[in-house]
Symmetry: C2
Amino acid sequence: MSTMTYNVRVFDIMPENTAIVHFTEQLYALAKNRKLKIESHSNRKGVYIEHIICLKNLLKPKEIGISKSLAHELKVSDGEEVSVEILSYTPADSYTFIRKRMDGVTLTKKEIDAIIDDIVNTRMSDIEMTSLILTLYFKEFDISEITDLARSIAEHGEIIDFGDNIVFDKHSIGGVPGNKVSLLIVPIIAAAGLLIPKTSSRAITSPSGTADTMEAIGCQVSFTADEIKKITKKTKGMIVWGGSLNLAPADDILISKVEYPLKINPRSMMMASILAKKIAMNVNYLVLDIPTGKGTKMASQEEAAVFARDFKEIARRLGIRAESGITYGGTPVGHAIGPALEAREAIEALLHPASAPKSLTVKSCRLAGILLEISGKALEGQGYNMAKEILYSGKAAQKFAEIVREQHGPETLDPNSIELGQYTAEIMAPSEGWIVEIDNKAITEVARAAGAPYDKGAGVYFIKKIDSVNAGEPIIRIYSNSESRLDAALALYQQLQPITMESMLLNRI
Amino acid sequence: MSTMTYNVRVFDIMPENTAIVHFTEQLYALAKNRKLKIESHSNRKGVYIEHIICLKNLLKPKEIGISKSLAHELKVSDGEEVSVEILSYTPADSYTFIRKRMDGVTLTKKEIDAIIDDIVNTRMSDIEMTSLILTLYFKEFDISEITDLARSIAEHGEIIDFGDNIVFDKHSIGGVPGNKVSLLIVPIIAAAGLLIPKTSSRAITSPSGTADTMEAIGCQVSFTADEIKKITKKTKGMIVWGGSLNLAPADDILISKVEYPLKINPRSMMMASILAKKIAMNVNYLVLDIPTGKGTKMASQEEAAVFARDFKEIARRLGIRAESGITYGGTPVGHAIGPALEAREAIEALLHPASAPKSLTVKSCRLAGILLEISGKALEGQGYNMAKEILYSGKAAQKFAEIVREQHGPETLDPNSIELGQYTAEIMAPSEGWIVEIDNKAITEVARAAGAPYDKGAGVYFIKKIDSVNAGEPIIRIYSNSESRLDAALALYQQLQPITMESMLLNRI
């Protein structure tokens, strides 16, 4: 393609790889959706332009406006001649490997490395990354490929070294609202003397991520690697936001650019993503919570079991001993959904475990028990009891209070000091009888419509869950800090009808 | 997310959905990679912004620059207040249908319409379009879906009405270099008195598209629908560039944004794309050329036959009678590859068919013969002979000369007046014996390295094709208008070794 000559004009522009041309310039029409290469006539240095815009009355014909930083790179100043070339589309070098993978060729570690390297160095376009995720969705990676992928993602980010210390961890694949079990498991494990520097996420599609819930308590969740090492030397446990640590950046890019907007989370990527973050935290022992049932990521126990077995083998190859707990996820965990509501419920459960919902305390102790057994702290079969003892004795609450203080939260644990949304509305039972089903996805949408997780006080509280109710009795309370969002959540509730009662007429045709 | 108030400033800007703000405006940092919604304070009309740039010395703080067309849509003028909102990522409404399709749900015509509507109205993001193409790649559309897709793509673009006239057409699925048969088939069919307003493409990945070859002769290829109707009234035939007509714009968008950069062309999309363009041209009878063999899009005759049968049925449902010619595409058609070289060879074949390569004349007459039989002009089994008679009698050459004149080309057909690349280099046979294989893809790459199709004189000429040669005899001549590109093409030739001789030592281990 032919090359044109332009005179440079230097501007303060952002994004820095933008070029501006005169309004009627033909270059604009030619370069639409293409990259441009600008080369200095005097020294042959070149830069690439990603965006081109046309603007009247700023430039003369045959002038091209570029940013100061590009002018600096080109070593040109106002008025100097440059050549402008319209480039054909150039794919990332490693795209050829993705293309091969589409047609079923297994990838080597080196090829996977090249892909991840292009992703973290922003050399891969969004459509190329999309083709990778869709390929994984339709043609899953095999166990060796997932192992290589996890390792490669980890190696392309920060790795935190805890020296000779054995690191324990708990992770949930997600999919069930109200799953605040980490707030119980981390202090139980830490109280047992084991190191558990838990990184958690903010909500992407759920009403509250563990990091959001910690913030609702008043805790800081962003820490540096050094701070985490220092604090956990004292407390053994922490609950921090993984996003502040540059662990597995390729995974973050793929989630934000492709998986979240397209609502796809391929199984191979899910495994690699979890394990990459565990490698980055130097985890030795991991318990994985796999919520299963309607509305979760695992429709059946069989699917969950296959996932757990594959995950265990891949983890083994990566030097991590992993065990999975396949848990019931068909209804929310506990009664509270949304950051502040979940924070209150978790603290209540730590302070008064006997009166807490069993779906929260039993699940937490079962998962913690697995870690206690793997570690050798508890005998085979005794982990659950040991976890329960730590919880019921108040040691877990004491440990959590210590963690909260170290993370710059309140001095004492008081659930009632956590502020809930100032506007509330109640949903009444439409008839007497049993509540037999709760639609996780619908409840999640209602909580998000009310403002969760950004409005920390927003959410849904189940006054009654799977239970018998009387007609007109309040069963759900919705919280929000905005009247209009509360209305929106109520309207959505009416539309989605997340609760099924055995006595309801389901349809009339 | 909160809303900010700005004062509008109206500019001539392109792209029209760009907003400009003051250099240090915080909005820029917040809105990076997000969409903005601008709403007029006075009338609550809203528009969406896809690009935001920061520019110093053009705007004051709290001013936002927008294009005239957006200002018109918003019904605001300079200085008026608007609210600016940063949107969370919002998928195209029809993306839910693509997402469902990923999991195997068959789409309805209405759902397919919604997808195509979002594509042509630029409401669908590149990653969403990529997910559509990858889904088609892994989970092909069924025959009804392809029918609906073709119809929907056609309906979302211009449709050219030829009234009561019966329209004939020829199309090749591509994949074989040197395939200049349209330059023979169109005049043969037009000389037989049938209407054949052929739209053709420019090369995307090949060394020359039919439109490029026509341009090498000196013809204009961009015409309006009215001009095509007017000219074909006289000539019956034309060979124009389809790209100038806004036929099937959704297809063009998908090709340029996804299929070309990712080098994917799903079978369902290929069929829908061809047929949409035929609906748009009101085609009644179509012959489809399916080149088959090594290096083409159809590896086996069986695959080609299944494609042909499915294509015929889909065409039938769309009111088009289609027949396919499964042709040999394992080696180039004729001896010439590249716009000017192919133009010369086609004209030579029209003027002196007896001495032209049989791979060109026989193939052209076979395909033309199918159309002559479908039309009733020739009896069953007599089409080939009739086409041959039209070609050998000089009627096709006369008709082509008329078409060339009407398309503003030279007054008389003279192959030698078409300029070839001024630099040439010859490849010699490495040993005596037979040339037994020619690698289509490698030859294509060599011709493109020499400059084809942008350098119309560039290309590859086979002095010998599948033939017996002596050691040191010239077998290939490469043409280019640039010495450096000629060197690059030669180097690529040495690397790719596109020619296999039976006497060559293929490997030594």
